[in-house]
Structures are given as structure tokens and as C-alpha cells.
């Protein structure tokens, strides 16, 4: 039976019509907020999936009726690149800037795009001690260009149901890397579609590489990386023995860490605290099968106390070219202050101000595991930034990512890889 072109066109047009019927329940794109007296433009990302933007804006606008906040979604994938492009050549349309990562933050400072907040902090009486020392980590020569409003740190998620089924004791809040490795090996079982992996490392280099900085003896921008050897050895051995999925497969299949956890196919997973809100939400919507889960603190090296972990901070800054710097800083002060922190905590995200109050709010959110160990896991002793503030951070990161990729795909031996990393980073440092 020959299907004529006409028929095909009709079918296609019909399907378009059907789609637009679906679209009848469409989400309307909201036009820009009407200008009140002062409109502040806030550059950020993922409006659709972030739960704390609306409550923060609503609360602030209620308290400040002559200010309107207009959100500018630049997408999360290349946010810092897009932000810097938008700001290039002296753009004054953006007032409040969200700072997503340290290398980007460093670039913004180098390009004089951020307002130096020292004066405002003094005159407005902002208490920087509330931020647990993170403001020191992002100061350049004593000058602060951003105030943290979110902090995320790495913890271990585990699947209670799988542990129960295997009859193995849950992970604890005080595990060494050796103990973590042991537990992962114990929990690996099965084959093919029924296989359960003991652990899971996402393809970001921070999931593996940064185990090495947790004893505080080295940083990732030192230029000498032999200290990473034992950790790569542990992970590659786990890969080889089938304890974790191998990096090459994960990378080429675009597998997202959330999917494998939802599917009950991994027993433990090291990941950031941002995943808590997503996990709760997805279980709630019925899209995740891993209903029984818990948290424990990150494993630690031998001889180092438990509770040290990696962290990232998301900060807010004010554009140096903004024409409404005072109003912008007032909003920044609100979001990064105690009121803002509580609003953020209520949505299940961890704010930068981590008081006991805040931890309690998060732990009592419906869907958060009810066992004591999980809320204790949120108590962090020391946070090491994933990428410390450094002038050449962006370039160094390119090398770190490239060599990590090579080592994890077994395209280069660990020793040769670490030597290459050291050599290339030293070249960058000496330029």
C-alpha cells in the first residue's frame, strides 16, 4: 500500500493540531513585571525548577512595596559564561548577580564587574560571622564581592530498603574511606537488570578527585597531585570489580545520578545536599521508587575527625555598573540574611547561615528521613570549597577535568595522569 505524500502531510498536520489541543492547558509566559518605583533585575537560573525564588521575592516586595524584582533566567548550563557575556562592554541593565561558581566569581572580580561590598557591609551592619568562615574563603585581599546565600555540601545518600533486604547494617556518620569501600563491596550483588551497585560516582570530577583534599593537607590548585593517588586507586578498583558503574559508560549514556538512585540500583551515593529537595519532590510525585532512604556524613581519611566535607556556596553580588546599587544591596542583604535563610530552608534548600534553627527546619520537612543519624549528617564540622578562590582557577579547572576524564576512562595510568596534571597546572601557575 503506497502512502501518498498528501496523506503523510495530513497526518503530520493532524498531530500538530492534537499537540496544540494539549497546549490548551498551556503555561503562559509571564511578561516582565510592571515598573513600580524601583525595578531590580536579578540574574539567575532555572526559574521553573527552583522553589525559593518566588517566596523570597514575595516576602521582600511585601516588606518593600516600592521595589519590584524582575528575574532574568540565563539557564544553568552556561550561566557564568552567559552572565559575563551579558555584562561585557559595560552593561548596566543587571543589578543583582547570582554567583554560581568560584572560577566565574574570580573572573568577575578580575574584570571589575562586581561591586566591592566592604563599605556597604560596614555601613549596613552585616554580620559576616554568621557564614561560618566562608566569607573569608571568598575574599580577595580582604575585599568581599559576594555574600553567600546558599551553601551545599557533600553527604552520602543510602537506600534503606536495599540494606534491609541484604541484611547489612546501615552506614554510619563516622566511616573511614576504607570502611566505605568495604560497605560498598558488601552491598554489590546481582547481575544484569537486577544488579545492585554498592556505590555510584557521578561523572563530575569533584565526586572522586576531591576526596583527597578532605584532610586539609593539600588543595586542588597546588600544582602537585600525587596525594590523589590512593583515592583514584580506590575508585578505579571499584570500577574494575563492578562495585560501581564505570565512568565511560556513564559519560556516554548521559546517565544522571538521580535516575540510578530512583531505580533502586545503587546502595550508596556521594552527592551534594541539593539533591535532598529533588529526591523528596520526585518521590512525592511518584517518579522515584527509592522511598526509604537516609543520609550520613561524608567518609573521612584515617585519623581525621568525621564531618569534614566538600562544599559549594552560591552567593549574591551587585553589578558594578548597576545604576541602583543601594537598592540592589538591600535586596542582597535580605536574601543572605537570617530572614532569607529561613525562607530558603523552608523549601528544603540549605542556606548559607546554618544555625541549629535552620537545620531543624530542614530536618522536619515532610519527606526528610526521620532517623536521628540523617539530621546529624547535616551538621558539618568543616567545609572545603570544591574550587578555592584562585586567579587561574578557570584554566586550572580545564586541565583537571581533562586529566580526570583520561584517568577514569583508563586512557592513562594513575601515576602518569597525576604527573601530567601536575606538569600542566604548574605551567599555568607560572605564566
Amino acid at each position: 500500500m503506497r502512502v501518498s505524500k498528501k496523506v503523510i502531510s495530513i497526518v503530520l498536520i493532524l498531530s500538530l493540531v492534537v499537540c496544540s489541543l494539549f497546549a490548551a492547558g498551556t503555561k503562559e509566559a509571564t511578561p516582565a513585571a510592571a515598573t513600580g518605583v524601583t525595578t531590580l533585575k536579578w540574574a539567575l537560573w532555572d526559574i521553573a525548577s527552583t522553589t525559593y525564588y518566588e517566596p523570597l521575592i514575595k516576602a521582600y516586595e511585601a516588606a518593600n512595596p516600592n521595589v519590584k524584582i524582575e528575574m532574568l533566567d540565563l539557564g544553568s548550563a552556561d550561566f557564568m559564561t552567559m552572565l559575563q557575556t551579558q555584562l561585557s562592554g559595560g552593561d548596566s541593565s543587571i543589578d543583582v548577580v547570582t554567583i554560581k561558581d568560584i572560577p566565574g566569581y574570580n573572573n568577575l572580580i578580575k574584570k571589575n564587574l562586581l561591586l566591592n561590598l566592604n563599605d556597604k557591609i560596614k555601613s549596613e551592619g552585616v554580620d559576616t560571622s554568621l557564614y561560618g568562615g566562608t566569607t573569608d574563603q571568598i575574599s580577595v585581599d580582604g575585599n568581599l564581592y559576594g555574600i553567600p546565600f546558599r551553601s551545599d555540601f557533600w553527604i552520602v545518600y543510602y537506600n534503606k530498603a536495599l540494606f534491609d533486604k541484604a541484611g547489612v547494617a546501615y552506614p554510619t556518620n563516622d566511616m573511614t574511606f576504607a570502611e566505605y569501600d568495604d560497605l560498598a563491596r558488601k552491598m554489590t550483588s546481582g547481575k544484569g537488570a537486577d544488579k545492585v551497585y554498592g556505590a555510584h560516582y557521578h561523572t563530575w570530577r569533584s565526586a572522586v578527585q576531591l576526596f583527597g583534599i578532605l584532610d586539609g593537607k593539600n588543595t586542588i590548585v597546588d600544582g602537585s597531585y600525587a596525594f590523589l593517588k590512593p583515592y583514584y586507586e580506590m575508585v578505579l578498583a571499584e570500577q574494575k570489580d563492578g562495585i560501581v558503574q564505570d565512568y565511560a559508560t556513564l559519560k556516554t549514556s548521559s546517565t544522571h545520578y538521580s535516575g540510578v538512585f530512583y531505580n533502586n540500583s545503587v546502595a550508596m551515593m556521594n552527592m551534594g545536599s541539593w539533591f535532598i529537595a529533588t529526591l523528596i519532590n520526585q518521590i512525592d510525585q511518584g517518579k522515584a521508587d527509592s522511598k526509604e532512604w537516609g543520609l550520613v556524613k561524608y567518609p573521612h581519611a584515617e585519623g581525621v575527625p568525621a564531618g569534614s566535607t566538600l562544599g559549594t556556596i552560591t552567593s549574591l553580588g551587585v553589578s558594578n555598573a548597576s545604576k541602583q546599587k543601594d537598592a540592589a544591596f538591600d535586596f542582597v542583604k535580605f536574601v543572605t540574611g537570617p530572614t532569607g535563610a529561613e525562607i530558603i530552608a523552608k523549601t528544603g534548600t540549605i542556606p548559607a547561615i546554618k544555625t541549629d534553627e535552620v537545620i531543624k527546619i530542614i530536618a522536619s520537612k515532610p519527606g526528610f528521613p526521620t532517623d536521628a543519624a540523617s539530621s546529624e549528617a547535616l551538621q558539618v564540622a568543616k567545609t572545603y570549597l570544591e574550587m578555592p578562590l584562585h586567579e587561574k582557577a578557570a584554566e586550572i579547572e580545564v586541565v583537571l577535568n581533562q586529566v580526570h576524564d583520561e584517568i577514569m576512562t583508563n586512557n592513562i595510568g594513575i601515576d602518569a595522569g597525576l604527573a601530567k596534571m601536575s606538569e600542566q597546572v604548574q605551567k599555568i601557575l607560572s605564566k
Binding site: K5, D78, T81, Q84, T85, L87, S88, G89, G90, P103, N107, K110, K111, N112, L113, D246, Y247, A248, T249, K251, T252, S253, S254, A394, E395, E397, V398, Q402, V403, D405, E406, T409, N411, I412, Q424, K427
Partner: protein, 292 residues
């Protein structure tokens, strides 16, 4: 002898035809390009004041590992993709030209890779060529191969993976060019060859290929330029990895421009790329002229 007045009038008329397109082109494309070319001799990060760099952006490249890897990879990629695409699209066109049934269907289908969204297509490709679970390697296992290729995750196979992907994507588009070219060949030539008692292969070599020279020329020029400028495909399939195995020139340009914000250096690499393309294209033009 046409008067001076009509001469000028003619020129003005000609310019008036070009004006709409050229003005838009000049303002929105040509001017930024000229500025970008100038940037190769300057230091700029997009925000701070511009400073003079002279030739230092270029001399720095001599010691730049990323650039050197990118240069080598781009040349390898082009040398691999151009002949393979040419041959496969020519072959497909010849086959389709045999008066097969459903020719229109095949023609439409072969165009799909070109129009499809790269995000979706790259994801599928990686799934199919997944080193441990993809159908391709599972099939190779069944055939008895012990050491199957690591495809996108193996530094020896990553470039081959990219080349294969590109050939797949471009094959249909260039096939259409050849198909049309084939239809333009005078059938009397084949009849004459027949009378001389030639077989199919000889007819292909001595009639088809020479008659397709204009088409081949067009394909080679466009393909070469396309290959030198490759970025999206590499970004989607291997992200330049593993390590720097598939880092190509435009990828390096992107890193320099938008990660390090060293716009001068990025422009310098772009100038190298541009001269490479120009040289190769001129060689092809010269070769074509000689063959006439």
C-alpha cells in the same frame, strides 16, 4: 561606446541590487568580524580596557599544549571525514540512481540526520555506541571479538567515533547533491560506452566520475570548511575528551574566549584556522582549474 553617464548609472543599478543584503551583512557581520580580527593583536577580557599585544598572542600559541592538540585533531578529523563522506554519499547516490522503487522515501529519510536536533541525535549515538552496554559492542562480543573498541571513551577511538558520527550526519545531505548531479549526466555517454563493450565499473570510472567533477568540487570545498569549523558535534558527543583526544580548534577557541576570557588569544587561534581554511580552499580551486 556607452557614455560615461550610462556607465555610472549601470554601476549604481548594480550596487542597488547588492545594497539590501550587503548593508545588513556589513553592519551586523562584517564589522564584528573585522573587530575580532583586530583582537588577535590585542589583549581584552570583554570588560577591562583593551591593551596592545602585538604578536604575543600568536607566539604564545607555539608553547600552548591545548592549541597544538586542537590543531592536530582538527587536521586528522578533516582528513578522515572529507573522503569518507564524499565516497559514501557518492556511493549512495549511485545506488539510488539505479531506478529503485521508493526512491523518494529513501531520499527523504537520508535527510533526517541533517535536520534533527543535535541534542537528541548525539544522545542516541552515544547510547548505541556505549562501550559496555550499547548494541554495537554487544553485537561485536557475539561475533567473538574480545577487545571491543571503547568508542567515545577511549582516546584511540574517540576521534574515529566523531568522524563516523559526522559522516552519518552529512552523508544524506551531500548524497542529494550527487544524486542531482548524476541526473544531469547525458545518457548518450553511457550508450557510447556500452557500445565500446565496457563493464559497470569501467563506466563508473570513465564516465560517471569525470562528469561529476563540478559536484565533487562543490562538495569538497563545503565539506572542508565545515570540518575545520566543527564544534557542536564534538561538544555533544565527547566534549573534547577523553583528555584532549578530540579537542578541536573551535573548541579551543571557545575555551579561550569563554572560560579564560582571553579574547585576544581566541582570535589568534581563529586567525590560524582561517588561514588554514583559506590555503586549503585555494589549493582546491587551483586543482580544479588545472583539471579543466
Amino acid at each position: 561606446m556607452p557614455s560615461k553617464k550610462t556607465q555610472i548609472q549601470k554601476q549604481l543599478v548594480a550596487y542597488s541590487f547588492i545594497a539590501p543584503n550587503f548593508i545588513g551583512f556589513a553592519v551586523f557581520t562584517l564589522v564584528p568580524i573585522v573587530f575580532a580580527v583586530a583582537l588577535a593583536f590585542l589583549h581584552w577580557d570583554g570588560s577591562n580596557p583593551i591593551t596592545w599585544a602585538g604578536l604575543s598572542n600568536f607566539t604564545d600559541l607555539l608553547d600552548d599544549d591545548q592549541f597544538k592538540a586542537a590543531l592536530k585533531n582538527t587536521i586528522v578529523y578533516t582528513l578522515g571525514t572529507v573522503p569518507l563522506t564524499l565516497i559514501s554519499s557518492l556511493f549512495l547516490a549511485v545506488v539510488l540512481n539505479q531506478g529503485v522503487k521508493g526512491r523518494n522515501f529513501f531520499r527523504t529519510v537520508s535527510f533526517f540526520p541533517y535536520v534533527a536536533s543535535l541534542v537528541a541525535v548525539a544522545a542516541v549515538w552515544n547510547m548505541i555506541f556505549n562501550p559496555s552496554k550499547g548494541p554495537v559492542n554487544l553485537f561485536l562480543y557475539k561475533l567473538g571479538f574480545e577487545n571491543v573498541p571503547g568508542w567515545a571513551a577511549d582516546k584511540h577511538w574517540a576521534m574515529i567515533t566523531i568522524i563516523l558520527f559526522s559522516v552519518w550526519k552529512y552523508m544524506g545531505y551531500y548524497m542529494i547533491i550527487y544524486l542531482a548531479g548524476l541526473q544531469g549526466i547525458n545518457p548518450e555517454l553511457y550508450e557510447a560506452a556500452n557500445l565500446d563493450g565496457t563493464n559497470a565499473w569501467q563506466r563508473f570510472i570513465y564516465v560517471t566520475v569525470p562528469q561529476l567533477r563540478p559536484a565533487t568540487f562543490f562538495v569538497m570545498v563545503m565539506l572542508t570548511i565545515q570540518c575545520f569549523k566543527v564544534y557542536d558535534i564534538v561538544y555533544m558527543v565527547t566534549q573534547g575528551g577523553p583528555g584532549t583526544a578530540t579537542l578541536v580548534l573551535v573548541y579551543d577557541i571557545y575555551n579561550k574566549a569563554f572560560v579564560s576570557w582571553n579574547l585576544g588569544s581566541a582570535s589568534a587561534v581563529a586567525m590560524v584556522l582561517f588561514f588554514l581554511v583559506l590555503t586549503v580552499t585555494l589549493i582546491q580551486f587551483r586543482g580544479e582549474k588545472n583539471m579543466r
